[in-house]
Symmetry: C2
């Protein structure tokens, strides 16, 4: 699984004060702990700083790469902030999180993907808004993949976000997300999925329970990447269990190793 560690995000109350105070140690600690817990990418987001997002995002990039060598997921729709962050980036190929098929956003972000040769998270969303059906999502994914590859982006550098909506607001949204993932991976096996997990449980109680169930079901449909909290030991345990369950962990070697390291939680 490709895990995009979501903790360094200005919308999260717990980390907001550290960002406000340029507390580099707190940011570094969070980057390091996510990396050690299995994050493939470290996401950095400064979107709540409306007046100085570019400086803040640049600072996050510089701070994180002082402590971990993991690639960054640079999380902004703002081309000015993205450029500052990409120019500051010294780690290996980053992800831009994210582009969409909204024309304004596509036109703003695409040149940066091309110039900096980044990977890119592509949201299943266009100028008509948030798609309702599986078919509508698949159509947008197909269009985005077509446009991105035409610009020279390799399939392997594209991460489709199926745009999960809360199951509490529509009983079909779990199936919509899972079947979108299944169909995207069936049609484009080289393309990755980068699915925001926790949206599924917005507005209902026992969110972690629902997130765990969704993680397993989505992995069963071919989800190979998620934007999630790698410090959530129970959720990570389900990553390892699902990899063993779906035949991605030969002889359960990783599962047994994590068990011996005390990383599995029942």
């Amino acid at each position: 699984m490709i895990i995009i560690g979501e903790k360094i995000n200005s919308t999260l109350k717990a980390i907001r004060p550290a960002m406000e105070n340029y507390d580099a140690d707190a940011i570094k600690d969070l980057a390091k702990r996510q990396y050690e817990a299995g994050a493939t990418y470290i996401d950095v987001n400064a979107g709540m700083f409306i007046n100085d997002e570019p400086e803040r995002l640049e600072w996050l990039v510089k701070t994180v790469q002082e402590t971990v060598s993991a690639p960054l997921a640079i999380d902004s729709p703002n081309p000015v902030a993205l450029r500052r962050a990409l120019e500051a980036n010294k780690n290996t190929k980053p992800l831009i999180n994210s582009i969409s098929d909204e024309s304004k956003r596509f036109n703003a972000v695409m040149p940066l993907v091309a110039e900096f040769k980044t990977g890119v998270v592509a949201l299943c969303m266009d100028d008509t808004g948030m798609p309702e059906t599986i078919k509508d999502r698949l159509t947008i994914a197909q269009r985005l993949i077509g446009k991105l590859t035409k610009e020279g982006v390799k399939l392997d550098d594209i991460y489709i976000d199926p745009l999960v909506r809360p199951v509490g607001t529509g009983s079909h949204y779990g199936t919509v997300a899972i079947e979108t993932i299944r169909q995207v991976k069936a049609e484009f096996p080289e393309v990755h999925i980068a699915c925001g997990l926790s949206n599924i449980s917005f507005g209902i109680p026992c969110r972690k329970l629902m997130n765990q169930a969704f993680l397993v079901a989505a992995m069963g449909a071919g989800m190979d990447g998620a934007i999630m909290d790698p410090l959530d030991k129970k959720l990570m345990s389900f990553v390892y269990a699902a990899e063993a369950l779906f035949g991605l962990d030969d002889f359960c070697v990783e599962y047994l190793t994590k068990y011996r390291e005390g990383e599995l939680e029942m």
Copy 2:
């Protein structure tokens, strides 16, 4: 979900002494607690009593039905024991657990299914042994469903057990079980699944974690019944979460009710 409560089983060490001592209160307590926790059927098994299984099984049936009105799953391949138990049964239509496509077993059990008009759990297994592939399992399921319906059993009274093998003994066994379920339900939507969950985790640590992941994945493939422990609150929480996730629980009403009743465990 159709839940076949598995706790009154002579192979389980915890309950064995109560059976040996004809401790009716202990059996009744276990029946009642499983029923209250959501069991659709109460399984009764006396298979470890090699010398007097018929008497023991009859006693279990009589004891359980003194306290719950739930239908029983009568768990034996032994036609003598099955007949004693079926004649003692006064609750609504029981399940026979189980028949298979092994000719000796089929011929021994089929007449009882017909005579007592029971439902029946049908194992994907024939005279050549345990099938290896999804296709082999599906072929046996098709053959069993054909033979059972020819004898007058309704599709809705057939419960296919895909015969789960431990993922620790073969990395493909998770996928084999899940895809067998998906294909059986796609071809025979009226037929039910009755899947023994805990086999998946035999021989590996943190079995509950793997069982939970398998439950969710199998429900995503259409599993509508399982032989499981309804007293495992965490596992039952995943039943409710998966029903909400897969659109089987409109507006999450059941999920929210279970939460308010304190039945959801994270």
